[in-house]
Point group: C2
Chain length 657, copies 2
């Protein structure tokens, strides 16, 4: 392999201890993981059954039942196991581990002699393996199970699932490749690529990295594999049972297979597929020194985050194909902004940070995390948004079919339940997103401000750093070196975009200057044990405008404070919310409301409410001159991530200015 | 039959002679009818073939070909013939009449011995007649052909098609009814009901009126006929070829068959079906004195026009099912506002005017006509909008699947080409919409201001009235009595809503007072030959606001002048149009632009353009405070009906205030 870009990253072990985030990680541990376990076992009343565990029991020969659920149902078990792995790493739990071990035994029993593992094809369509890469998610499911195997091995040291998945990966490696007799193919849904990189990193086996690279290299090459895949079965579709027209190459933009990945420069197609692929591309760029891949990642990152991203970190603006549409097309009401897509965006950002420490990646990671992702889960951990709208009119969600996909309330569980377990695995592995370290330069990059204890291995030696953070309510962050190597170490503190370059650094109580590089404040020192670094990026409530090309937000403002996007809810304000405007010259009042869902900062602003009393019900249109003066009104905005936790009603992020 | 509501209406014969409308009626005669004839014969290059005439040739046994086009393709021939009938009535044309006679010969040859007539079932599915009322549009096609027969007979006195359709109607009458052995059914798509009323009016045969009433009475009654119809073929669908789930009664709201029509009070479902049904209901209410039906019509009219109608007279806000969604849900960009639906709204308004002369009905009729309907056709008469949006971003129409149905340019012809021939038949019969007369009270109601010569038969005797109108550019209307009965006659002049109750009446040059009743100025006089009435409703450019519950228009204004709604087009203004706002305190400048598409009044206003220069391409969101002052800009609005005739670009009716 070529030399890695950004050298060898240092290792780190991070444990979160943070007032804000522990609530979520505990929720995941105490509620989400057990709840999802029940869901996987079809024990949630009134929710669509999952069949996911049952499928494994059937495939293992323990039960006779038809296959149930989506073709990719196995991946829900995998994502759950992956979350369990992360959770056990920070919080050992013998009973949970025993349950997971039983699931792993089941998975192992469902594996074929040759290594093959997929309950759909085992139960429902034996003999049809690898005949529908376009639709059947076979490698996608394998990828998720590989991720689970790696996470579980890392947490417990138990190799069973890892061995199962290495065997499967080896089997896949024997089937796919450029060598004669092998399939020059790839999956319709990217995922295995990033998983194989993880498997390579855990096992050190080059062949997994090469297989990942093969899948990335083949994608979009001519002749187009997916088209051939569809042709060989005359377009017969798994979903409809009918022969569909053979797509044209450009239609494979849905799968990002319309052109070789190195030539792609605009984020297109199914957004989750896209970001999973970009994540693997960034991994491969770093590990193989492939500059073309790096440049493709940069172009795709730029297009996606600068022209196709909602202020909440949501991506994918249309539910048709759960996809990107085009630059600046970011409707707030017919939005998609799938939870999984933002999670994938966070994966991609993390990998880009490993390639090059630029605060922009961390800014977006934080934006997606604090808003779209955390907001997707209810405060009880049992209800989820799949679609994360920026504007909701509950009646329209119900009665206008073009908005049926936009739910006004979080749902219990989904037939296609990719999002809830994805949230669980991200939140339970959040410790991996806080820092990156460059061992050779002895630099510790702090990307997220999350209270934690972290131990780093640098070339200079070990460093233990305790971070305390008051985010998202205050910008105050405090670092204490509790173990130092007796050599110079650089602490690189992210200057978050929201502080607008106002951030105060204090070292052992003394205000200190700092130089900045790529959006980080660099503090280079021979740190002593007990040294304290205080970092205070300014956190002020502020109004944000959107680019004029984003037509949906013309004449509107959003309220932000620190990493949080705010929104208006009907319960705190008026109905219709569209009748409300914000007086942009007025001061924004920031108050901690201890009664609001466990306590949160709310922001109040002066607003105007369009006069409505003079309107008669029977008048749809009337002279503008009849409109009477708008009324002053106090607007109350709450953090976006908390919306919809009190009562059904309208919500909007963008407010008329 | 019970006594008619509103007594016996007087008869009238009206010929249009109007600078504005003759352009359209000539376009229909000289371009649209020949063009559509070519379309029906599959002679339009690059347009989807119609197969409509070919189907009749095949059904007549003159050719062997498979059936082509939609299941309701026959109705396009019918609508074309109906338009031809109206056209011949005002402009005899021997060659056109010969062509029509040949088509009628063909239709007669396609008729079965028993009277049955439908090319789909004759060619493609013989033996399956009347087995799929829910989907197959059999009675719908019959209805359109009945309308054609009546129009052609009225114009030419030729009975051939009328006889064909009476025979078919008699056959239908023998099959449907409450008598034992007959089907207690009705069509999935209303249309025959209003057609049978016309057939009754032309033939005087009560059985046609009774059959219409039967269809109306049965609709939505329990047990639900459409559900039984679907059940008897196990849900097998004509459209998909698959067995679909049996719908629940409430899903038949799509067909307005979810409850008896007399109990309906909210406009729901497929909007064209709805207004065709309401039209027949109003006819029946009048002709049978059925007060329950009248009240249902009033309720449905009120709901539809006050809560579910666009300012352009468009109805149906979602393309899912081409349907109404719910009160105040009137998105401008994901709109439907089908041309046919507004035409049906005009039918309904006309029938309501026959029931009760209230200016509100005529106001809406005029609004739909001058905006949605006329705007649906290109200035060359060869391109049509099916969907009539109030806001267009061409790139979104192309690249966001949720807006694919909203075309930025008029299309040549549609696979489902209901709209173009519907426009043709409306415009060529526009003379029927100008007046109603109440013979017994000797009152002539002037609903539309369209230059014309009209002869009325009143109880008092004959009246000939010449109307000259400068609409839509000026409010000046002039009436001259060229034949008078020598008795008192009331001229009721509509006080259009757009004049805001400012209208000047002059009789023989002298300003005169008038009393108003239901929105009409009543002038009761023993008119002398040569008497001149000048009627000048004030026509000023004005700004209009929408009801606060219509969220899509919050903070926005529309420009209207007289009957015309105006819009901004990118070609005359800025891009994005969303960056533009209108200074509501500024004066609106009204100018006649002789260069604009044959001449039209344009309206200029002071506007502001959001400052864009300081935005960098890579910044999607930034502090509101960085936004620099907006720039003054001159806005130029053109009549909505003219939009999209110059170049592809953005368009908006509602402008930020």
């Amino acid at each position: 392999m070529a030399k890695q870009i950004n050298g060898q990253l240092g290792s780190s072990e991070v444990h979160i201890k943070d007032a804000f985030w522990n609530r979520f990680t505990e929720l995941v541990r105490e509620t989400v993981i057990p709840y999802q376990w029940d869901a996987l076992n079809d024990r949630i009343a009134d929710a669509e059954p999952s069949y996911a565990i049952r499928n494994f029991r059937v495939a293992a020969g323990l039960e006779e039942q038809p296959y149930g659920g989506m073709v990719f149902q196995d991946s829900d078990v995998a994502k759950w196991l992956e979350a369990v792995g992360y959770s056990l790493a920070s919080h050992p739990d013998a009973e949970l581990e025993r349950t997971a071990d039983e699931v792993i035994d089941l998975i192992a029993m469902a594996q074929h002699e040759n290594g093959y593992l997929n309950t759909y094809f085992t139960i429902k369509d034996p003999g049809k393996q690898w005949t529908n890469l376009y639709e059947a998610h076979e490698l996608y499911c394998a990828g998720h199970m590989i991720e689970a195997a790696v996470a579980y091995y890392d947490a417990t040291g138990k190799r069973k699932l890892l061995d199962v998945m290495c065997k499967f990966a080896d089997y896949i490696d024997s089937l796919f490749g450029i060598e004669p007799g092998k399939m020059r193919g790839y999956d319709g849904h990217q995922e295995i690529e990033l998983a194989l990189v993880k498997l390579y990193q855990t096992t050190g086996e080059d062949r997994y990295l090469k297989l990942a690279q093969f899948f990335i290299d083949e994608r979009g090459a001519e002749p187009n594999f997916l088209i051939e895949d569809i042709k060989q079965r005359d377009g017969l579709s798994l979903w409809t049972g009918r022969n569909m027209p053979i797509p044209k190459v450009e239609q494979l933009a849905y799968n990002q297979a319309h052109k070789p990945v190195r030539e792609q420069d605009v984020a297109v197609g199914h957004s989750v597929r896209a970001v999973y692929m970009y994540t693997a591309m960034a991994d491969l760029a770093r590990l193989t020194g492939d500059m073309q891949l790096l440049e493709a990642c940069q172009r795709l990152w730029n297009n996606m985050t600068r022209k196709q991203m909602y202020i909440t970190g949501g991506i994918g603006s249309t539910h048709h194909g759960e996809a990107f549409s085009f630059d600046y097309d970011l409707p707030n009401d017919t939005v998609y902004a799938e939870t999984c897509a933002s999670i994938g965006l966070i994966f991609f950002a993390q990998r880009m940070l490993k390639l090059e420490a630029k605060s922009e990646y961390a800014d977006i990671m934080e934006r997606a995390l604090f808003n779209n992702v955390v907001g997707s889960m209810s405060q009880d951990g049992k209800h989820y948004f799949y679609v994360n709208p920026l504007e909701v009119w509950p009646k329209a969600s119900e009665k206008n079919p073009g908005r049926h996909h936009v739910k006004a309330e979080r749902q219990k569980w989904f037939g296609c339940s990719c999002c809830p377990p994805n949230v669980a695995r991200l939140l339970s592995s959040l410790n991996d997103y806080i820092y990156t370290v460059t061992a050779a330069t002895n630099t510790i990059y702090t990307h997220l401000f999350i209270g934690s204890i972290a131990q780093f291995e640098l070339d200079a030696g070990s460093v233990t750093l305790k971070q305390e953070s008051e985010l998202p309510w205050k910008g105050n962050v405090r670092f204490e070196f509790t173990e130092v190597p007796g050599a110079t170490v650089t602490l690189a503190l992210r200057i978050p975009s929201w502080c607008r370059e106002k951030a105060v650094l204090r070292i052992n109580g003394e205000t200190a200057d700092y130089k900045t590089e790529n959006g980080y404040a660099l503090v280079n020192r021979n740190w002593q044990q007990g040294d304290v670094v205080e970092w205070e990026p300014a956190m002020e409530a502020q109004l944000t405008a959107a680019h004029p090309e984003i037509r949906a937000n013309a004449g509107k403002v959003a309220i932000e404070r620190g990493p949080l996007v705010y929104c208006l809810e009907e319960i705190d304000n008026a109905s219709p919310l569209a009748a409300v405007s914000l007086v942009t010259s007025s001061a924004l009042a920031v108050n901690f409301d201890s009664q609001l869902l466990g306590g949160a900062i709310v922001i109040e602003a002066e607003g105007r409410l369009d006069e409505q009393g003079s309107w008669q019900e029977e008048t749809p249109y009337r002279p503008y001159g009849l409109q009477q003066a708008s009324l002053p009104v106090k607007l109350k905005a709450v953090p976006y991530y908390l919306w919809g936790n009190r009562q059904r009603g309208e919500m909007t992020v963008w407010i008329r200015a």
